[in-house]
């Protein structure tokens, strides 16, 4: 019994770490732009395919493919932000950028569908089938990499936000864009930086998720709904809350599967979301909006 509880806890942390990586990008963008990015799911998919092709066509190492997926995600974020979202921000409309993110999402999905086809790709890494067994507990090396990369990324992101000038500037823009501008901070550059970081995180999450996901042009959409739920449970724009909520959702999934039924996962997760909205709409970790990110 204890073995199963520990095993499911590990399973939950692994899945939760993946969710955190996807959700962090969403929460960063919301924190700075107060904007929901529906195309985030497709940056996850693009990252997954970038890693897939790098490994299967060029024969690159999986860890190198994660780094490349991060760069590809960041580049996509830069291009889409420059081409679509920056021009729309001058309209001062909240609705236009939101609709644009949906448009970009549909467009990217269909471009990938036309190019890559609808049949699932099998993404195997050398680490997926290398299993470590200790006292009845099993863990693949893939899971170890996921936890290690997610922990490192979260730590680096946290350090960047808290201790670097750029990170502080991003936080300043998220708190009050106009005042930050008066202090000499170029808000547009920092919005671009946030978008690139968030998209890079999505691309990297894609490379980590690819061996787990059913890899098709729609792969990212299968996790994005949960990522949105995590962002809401954790508190929109709140990094610490997102991390906590991501791990919580991962654990809920594992233990619902073990003790209830996998068919009930969405009921439990989204039930929690509704509960949070009803009793604590600011999320798990309450902060004033000004202090987010």
């Amino acid at each position: 019994m204890t073995v199963i509880v520990v095993q499911q806890a590990i399973n939950g942390v692994v899945v939760g770490s993946l969710y955190v990586l996807v959700a962090l990008g969403l929460t960063l963008i919301y924190g700075v732009l107060v904007q929901i990015n529906f195309a985030h799911a497709d940056f996850v998919t693009i990252g997954a395919f970038a890693a897939y092709f790098l490994m299967h066509l060029i024969g690159a190492n999986y860890l190198a493919s994660i780094a490349v997926a991060l760069l590809v995600g960041g580049l996509c974020g830069f291009l889409i932000n420059a081409a679509v979202f920056t021009p729309l921000r001058s309209s001062r409309s909240e609705l236009l950028p939101l609709i644009a993110t949906i448009g970009v999402s549909v467009m990217l999905q269909n471009v990938m569908l036309a190019w890559l086809g609808p049949i699932p790709y099998a993404f195997e890494t050398p680490y997926s089938n290398q299993v470590i067994r200790i006292a009845g507990i099993f863990l693949t090396w893939q899971s170890v990499i996921i936890i290690a990369v997610a922990t490192t990324t979260i730590a680096l992101l946290y350090a960047f936000m808290k201790f670097t000038f750029l990170g502080k500037a991003v936080r300043a823009v998220s708190q009050d864009r106009e005042t930050a501008g008066l202090m000499g901070i170029n808000a547009n550059h920092l919005i671009m930086l946030t978008f690139v970081i968030a998209s890079a995180l999505a691309g990297m999450a894609g490379a980590m998720l690819a061996p787990v996901l059913v890899l098709t042009p729609f792969a990212g959409t299968s996790v994005i709904v949960k990522a949105f739920a995590i962002v809401i449970i954790g508190g929109f724009g709140n990094v610490e809350g997102t991390i906590l909520a991501g791990l919580l959702v991962g654990l809920i999934e594992s233990f619902t599967t073990q003790y209830l039924d996998p068919g009930l996962i969405d009921i439990v997760v989204f039930g929690l979301l509704l509960l949070m909205l009803a009793i604590k709409p600011t999320g798990l970790i309450s902060e004033r909006r000004e202090e987010n990110v």
């Binding site: 499911q8 692994v14 609808p118 787990v212 059913v214 729609f218 999934e253 073990q258 969405d266």
Partner: protein
Amino acid sequence: MSIRFHLLLALASAVSVVAATSSAAQAEDKTIKIGALLPISGPGAYFGTQDKQGVELALEELNKTGVNGYKFVIHYEDSSCAPLPATQAAKRLLEQFTPDVVIGEECSDATLAVMPLIEQAKVPLINAGSSSIKVTDPGNPWTFRIMPNEVMQGVNIAENAYNRLNARTAVLLFENTNAGIGNAKVFNETFTKLGGKILAEIGFGRDVNDFTAIATRVAGLGKIDIIPTYTLEGQGLKITQALAQTGVTKGGGGSAIQLGTIWLPFGFEQKAGNAALGYIRIVQFDPTDPRPLVRDFTSAFKAKYNADPTHINAHAYDQIMLIADVVKRGGKDAQSIRDMLAATKTFSGVTGSVEFDKNNQNDKMDTVHYMETKPDMTWTSLKWN
């Protein structure tokens, strides 16, 4: 006289022009319009892609000479393996293309959703991929299914598992759809009646990506002989790999054998890798079948697509060939095609034979072929049926 003669000549010319025009129009009209509702996007898109290949090959062969003076035209709609897009696609197909006959869908939920619309339009529907019993039970005069339904498959798999594999314990894994739940239920009933024990029934949604938690739960259930699994290819791959990682199945050094259905395409083993070792599943087409019909189909398919045909290619090919058979017997419009389909007795296709019972269900079991994955990830035909 001369004027009369010229008038008669002019009249005769006019009549002959009208007759010629009419006959040309008739020749143009001598086409059978086939509507295809296939999942071309979404999680079941591999069905649609492979169906299309089989359909195109059959049409290419048939349209070289035609059948009883008829040529065949087809129009595809993406029904996405789900009820809502399927009904929208069916409406477009029926209103804009006005087909004489429709083939599809692959997924039971989608097929069940379009059946009332197609019945209302009085157009026959030939189905080759949906296993839910509800497709032909209690029976719909306009729907015909050429593959065995979930009861026929489920009973057959459970009996073979119990008698040939000596399986006594099972865990059922299935997606929460009509077909998934229905197939699992039939297996459960038959296996239990034979004396077997179901240790757990685990259903899941199509949005589940990581199956490690499910595999962990399965691993904690004690000794398992077989794991019948009802899911589409994408999730099927992940389940097989997760079960191997937990050491439950043969692919992971355990003893349990995963049993699968015709939902999985050929090539599944190569994608799943070593995890698929020992996987036994049924397919509708056996490429090692020595019948000349199968050999000809296989070589024609290889020549056209430079690949071996899958059972999905094969059942799509048979759907079109069955329509051609019906046209050969006098079918020319929706009503007569329906009537001729119902009277089908001796059709022999590349997947097997077809004879419909009173519910328009093909009652032949020679379309069910068992295959087992070998250590080199190729497969061998078990010749159980």
